[in-house]
Symmetry: C2
Subunit: 209 residues, 2 copies
């Protein structure tokens, strides 16, 4: 610990006057929306959080709703890519294999984009932007339920629980990550992905019947 | 379907002037908090929702925070009863049996008290009331993690995933119910409780390894 070389470039804030770009404003907005609730957060709150004037923020973004829409689209684009990659027809892979892959990829997206996915999972449909996001979530849910149904039809998964209910519970477990996962905590991303996949597919029992 | 006997007493609202009591105001407040977000909801919004004046509401309740505290306590009391009943030491039942019971009871509480539990699961700690609720949630989480650890130590559950992570994922699946369960939907309470228990303990695989 005697090196005097800096470990990397100093944080931008250290350079004097903060130079926020749109991405930095978006990150701060998502964090604030998650902490206070979107409806309870004003652009004035965001300006205060960033130490900027409101006009300085409006130089970069047009409205609070634009920030929400951008964050939700970012989360949905990642989740859609994960689901599309795994859920398409593929002659060389079973539905069961593709479902396992989509579970693993979903965990990775949730961990890598936790703030935006947290915001997405709390959307209630209180505006056009939120309704559009819910529409995209429904499309994903339908694809996932269809993939579960295919895996059941293959004979790989239990058939005593309806596939739509399986899909709800499986991705309920995956989505719960956003509420408790801490990147600096005890569990790294691969460990969580392994645990979710193991518990989901093989269950908690030491010797499953 | 030719009976002319009413099936039960008419709803109170049907008797003319609405006669809200504290319980009815609390139900409406919880529904509104869940829909708009607690921080974004004012007592004026609640009065408008109920068709009451603000003084009429303050005749029954002292503050918005009192309503929040009451709802959170109601949810926490039910969950605490479920966890305490199942998680205490019991010479005649294994930890595995008690864990299965607490999962089943938790599903029942979530379904029976869905609005209050939804509110509880969205609490972020933005006030004394919320911090107190988070404290009680942590106590429950600790009891559940200890019960999982006991079941692992018994040899009943897999030991390749840390018990705290198992507990997070297991109750993440259970808690996800509040986001998608609809009492008037396709799945009744017992069916959901059976599905959660089956998937959690035995997994999705038709022939678990």
């Amino acid at each position: 610990m005697t090196t005097t070389e800096p470990a990397g470039p100093p944080p931008r804030r250290g350079r004097g006057r903060p130079g926020y770009d749109q991405a930095a404003i978006l990150r701060a907005a998502v964090e604030l929306f998650n902490r206070k609730g979107y409806d309870a957060t004003s652009m004035g709150d965001l300006a205060k959080e960033l130490g900027l004037t409101k006009p300085a923020i409006y130089h970069h973004v047009t409205s609070k709703e634009q920030l929400l829409g951008q964050a939700l689209d970012d989360a949905l684009d990642e989740l859609t890519a994960a689901v599309t990659a795994a859920s398409g027809e593929a002659a060389d892979r079973t539905a069961h294999e593709r479902l396992r892959e989509v579970v693993r990829r979903s965990v990775e997206v949730l961990v890598a984009h936790q703030p935006a996915v947290t915001l997405l999972l709390r959307v209630r449909g209180n505006s056009e932007v939120e309704l559009a996001a819910l529409e995209r979530r429904r499309w994903l849910d339908d694809r996932l339920a269809a993939l579960v149904a295919d895996a059941v039809a293959e004979g790989a998964l239990r058939d005593d629980v309806p596939p739509t209910l399986v899909s709800r519970l499986l991705f309920g477990m995956v989505n719960s990550l956003v509420e408790w996962y801490r990147p600096d905590g005890s569990y790294d991303r691969a460990m969580v992905a392994d645990a979710v996949t193991a518990i989901a597919f093989d269950g908690l029992a030491r010797h499953a019947s």
